[in-house]
């Protein structure tokens, strides 16, 4: 008797695909013979839109790519354009950026753990993760006024100075979160159901990982100790003391452990930034390139003229191209900007970590069961806004 494989469509609308990902599965019973991810259902044309906007006006577009870690995207874009312009950022702005970017990493990892656990079956984790996340969104609202798409970083530094009760509220978070992370670990790490569903699932060898372009927690879960914050430091990360967690498991459980430890290291970095936050300017002083602070615009004539010229005509960076990669929560997020001297970026290319990791789904799902496909998608921490841009 001849048996045929069955082709099933795990469509764009699915409770466990974290967005509009479509996977075509070829099944032999319950085993996956072939898995083919199809993307493009959220293609927004951000790269094309950015070519028609001034450098300052393109910052809100970058928020909406990886919408779980909006400040990371802002940081990547601002660092790339600042590298192109060749301006120095003051120390206070750099430390504040580090503090908020690590908070953003926490934000992203909390949503990851909530939705990943929900897919595998631990429904209460979603509620706990979102409860913690509300505090982080409170900080975003405090600094910028918006809960999610904060657009708080500007070329040259920050949009506004840090508010007076910033440190107090951040220290509340630092006191509160460690015990909550211990709670998550109690719930999941030694839980036999969690271990059965994640150990040995979606394994990939380190050589395949490099060939598939893995970066970030996925590469660290294969044993490679590589983190752009230590290898190519940016925005004064070299001044902070933190560890890079790795694990040799190469499976879903290893990725879970790596990310959980990363959350704790982020808290460590945040504590160091709060303890030693320098005084000074929150935005670089570079007339003609960087927007002057609002207080000066309302009182000094020169600042008013520069503000007017920058907003209406735009800035004119030198001709050339730069690439700036940062260690985002999902992996290496890179911005490649080509400038032809005009006020609009000639080409803004985003190197999306989630796009690169989605390709590996073909290898990760092969030979596993259908339920393992769900675990694999969760472990990749996919955000479709970044895959499709």
């Amino acid at each position: 008797m001849e048996t045929r494989t069955m082709t099933i469509n795990m469509g764009p609308q699915h409770p466990a695909t974290h967005g509009v990902l479509r996977i075509q599965l070829e099944l032999d019973g319950e085993t996956v013979v072939k898995a083919d991810p199809i993307i493009g259902y959220l293609h927004t044309g951000i790269e094309k839109t950015a070519e028609s906007k001034h450098y300052y006006k393109a910052i809100p577009l970058t928020d909406r790519m990886d919408y779980l870690a909006p400040m990371s995207n802002n940081l990547g874009f601002c660092l790339a354009v600042e590298k192109l312009l060749g301006i120095e950022i003051p120390a206070k702005a750099q430390w504040a950026r580090v503090c908020l970017t690590e908070l953003t990493r926490l934000n992203s990892h909390l949503v990851w753990i909530g939705t990943h656990a929900l897919d595998i079956g631990a429904m209460s984790m979603l509620l706990y993760a979102f409860r913690e996340r509300e505090k982080i969104l409170g900080i975003y609202e405090l600094v910028s006024g918006q809960r999610m798409m904060s657009t708080y970083f500007r070329l040259g530094g920050l949009a506004e100075d840090l508010p007076v009760d910033f440190e107090e509220k951040m220290r509340d978070i630092l006191e509160d979160f460690p015990s909550k992370f211990n709670e998550y670990e109690d719930l999941l790490t030694n839980n036999p159901i969690w271990r059965n569903r994640t150990i040995g699932v979606a394994k990939i060898s380190p050589e395949d990982a490099i060939s598939c372009g893995f970066t970030g927690p996925l590469l660290r879960a294969c044993g490679m100790k590589h983190d752009l914050r230590k290898a190519n430091p940016y925005s004064s990360y070299e001044k902070f003391d933190f560890d890079i967690p790795t694990n040799d498991g190469c499976d879903v459980y290893a990725r879970y452990l790596v990310r959980l430890e990363e959350m704790r290291q982020s808290l460590r970095i945040i504590r160091q930034t709060l303890d030693g936050m320098p005084e000074g300017l929150y935005r670089a002083h570079a007339p003609g390139i960087v927007l002057p602070p609002k207080e000066k615009v309302l009182t000094e004539m020169e600042s008013l003229i520069f503000h007017f010229k920058i907003i209406t005509e735009g800035i004119h960076p030198p001709v050339g191209e730069v690439y700036q990669g940062i260690e985002g929560p999902k992996g290496e997020l890179g911005f490649y900007i080509v400038s032809d001297g005009g006020p609009y970026p000639y080409r803004m290319r985003v190197r999306p970590p989630c796009f690169v990791h989605t390709v590996a789904l073909k290898k990760l799902c092969q030979g596993g069961l259908v339920a393992d496909v769900i675990a694999a998608i969760g472990s990749i921490d996919i955000v479709l806004g970044e895959v499709d841009r």
Binding site: G11, P12, Q13, H14, P15, G19, V20, G40, Y41, L42, H43, T44, G45, I46, K48, T49, P60, L61, R64, Y67, L68, V111, L126, L127, F130, R131, R133, E134, L137, R147, M148, M149, L384, G385, D388
Partner: protein, 159 residues
């Protein structure tokens, strides 16, 4: 009219419209349909702080055949539009649509070749909730307005 004095306790008199509308508005079941950033705010609204289950939306149904409210949360690209229409057609009547966010209402920040400029080009929308993304309180306000709208419907004219 004196009739209420003659009937025993525990009986209410009302019209069929009011009964049916009250039942429908208090147990709207949304379809689990999140596209982009607004979906995360929708998940927050279902989360522990802005609990949406107290408005009757206890479960979020994954299958369109069992849902009666579609909250289009996020930007609709041209590739996704036929899928959206198909899902809407699969939902049984009575059904309602909330366009959540600026991108679903009118295209939002993105005015280009890839994004449908407003989901009302392909679906009939009942309530538009603006914002990028709208706060959970705004979404709850939109849902309450939808409930007010359902109160004014009539069984004689199907939705």
């Amino acid at each position: 009219m004196g009739l209420e004095e003659k009937i025993p306790d525990g009986i209410l008199l009302t019209s069929v419209d009011k009964m049916v509308n009250w039942a429908r508005k208090s147990s709207l079941w949304p379809l689990g349909f999140g596209l982009a950033c607004c979906a995360i705010e929708m998940m927050s609204t279902f989360g522990p702080r802005f609990d949406l289950a107290r408005f009757g939306m206890e479960v979020m149904r994954a299958s369109p055949r069992q849902a009666d409210l579609m909250i289009v949360s996020g930007r609709v690209s041209n590739k996704m539009a036929p899928v959206l229409k198909r899902l809407y057609d699969q939902m049984p009547s009575p059904k309602w649509v909330i366009a959540m966010g600026a991108c679903a209402s009118s295209g939002g920040v993105f005015n280009n070749y890839a994004i449908l400029q407003g989901v009302d080009k392909i679906l009939p929308v009942d309530v538009y909730v603006p914002g990028c993304p709208p706060r959970p309180e705004q979404l709850i306000d939109g849902i309450v307005k939808l409930q007010e709208k359902i109160k004014t419907e009539s069984v004689k004219k199907p939705a």
